[in-house]
């Protein structure tokens, strides 16, 4: 991800200089990652897209404040995460179930997704984030440390606690 950050830094320099194509490229590079992350929380396509767009709008508005020496992706994820938190606050934590769950045909897959949402909902925010990145989005511990802007050791120990909490929830499931 270090190399990625260098590429991103270069893109940010160009965006700061007013290059719209650079922002378009930046969006293309990071769109899926941000959208997927948000989707894992929200569980519905329309709201996830809206929040992903809002994330990039906010990023663009604050482009002059972006510190190129720091992790750009971590900054982008932080914006997305804050917007997700705002979304839940706004809708009083009524997690909307995936559109596919509501209308889907594969009953087995649907109930599984429901269960994942149920589990994630019960996890504290700090752990939920890690579980999503690690077990749903399959990021390595190094990548998660990079995304969260924390040390690898700190992420490892947080993940250990998150996993413990998750497994306890598994155990309670009937």
């Amino acid at each position: 991800m270090e190399g990625n950050n260098m590429v991103l830094s270069e893109q940010i320099r160009q965006i700061k200089a007013g290059d719209e194509d650079a922002f378009s490229k930046f969006f293309e590079t990071n769109r899926d990652m941000i959208y997927r992350y948000i989707y894992r929380y929200i569980g519905n396509k329309v709201d996830s897209e809206d929040i992903a767009i809002e994330t990039f709008v906010k990023f663009h508005h604050n482009i002059d404040k972006v510190d190129l020496s720091k992790n750009i992706r971590a900054y982008l994820f932080r914006i997305a995460h804050n917007l997700v938190v705002d979304f839940f606050r706004k809708y009083k934590y009524t997690v909307q179930l995936n559109e596919d769950i509501a209308t889907g045909s594969e009953k087995g897959r649907d109930t599984e997704k429901e269960l994942i949402h149920e589990l994630l909902e019960k996890l504290p925010d700090k752990y939920r984030d890690l579980i999503i990145l690690k077990y749903l989005e399959k990021y390595s511990n190094e990548d998660i440390a990079d995304i969260k802007g924390k040390s690898l050791d700190s992420i490892k120990s947080s993940l250990k606690r998150a996993r413990k909490k998750l497994v306890r929830l598994f155990n309670k499931l009937q």
Partner: protein
């Protein structure tokens, strides 16, 4: 399997640390406990590939740039209004407009009764040489019209 063991096994399963036989054993245990849903979730969590989610709309980029364009326009208007030189200028223009409106109103009111009379005469009164008059149509209210009757008579006398 007790709770503690179960939790330990699940952690190992999640991390891919269980050998194939142990993994199968755990899976069978979950099936026997009618926890198939949990087993599917565990398989999802421990799979090396992220699960599929609906693809984002291809119009996301267009929507993003349209949002940015709108925000830029708004920002331009705001920055125009909030430029330090613009504020006193705007205040000055508003004062000037208010002053002009007041002046025009005062000028209108200061028109002579004769001029106003003429308007009324043309609109609704017939004058005769002997100083009498007939009202044939009155658009204004009576009190307003009456206020000018005397003046009218006086002038013709």
């Amino acid at each position: 399997m007790n709770n503690k063991n179960f939790e330990e096994e699940i952690v190992k399963y999640l991390e891919g640390e269980l050998n194939p036989e142990k993994s199968k054993e755990l899976e069978e245990e979950l099936i026997s406990q009618k926890k198939e849903r949990l087993l599917r979730v565990l398989k999802d969590f421990s799979s090396p590939n992220p699960g599929s989610i609906p693809e984002p709309s291809p119009f996301m980029e267009a929507r993003l740039f349209s949002r940015l364009k709108r925000a830029k326009k708004k920002k331009n208007v705001l920055s125009f209004l909030l430029t330090p030189i613009k504020i006193p200028s705007l205040v000055l223009v508003i004062i000037l407009i208010l002053f002009l409106t007041l002046t025009v109103n005062l000028f209108k009111r200061s028109s002579t009764p004769a001029e106003e009379l003429q308007e009324i005469y043309q609109e609704g009164y017939a004058l005769y040489d002997n100083g009498e008059y007939d009202v044939y149509s009155v658009d204004t209210d009576d009190s307003f019209a009456a206020a000018y009757f005397d003046t009218l008579t006086f002038k013709n006398e």
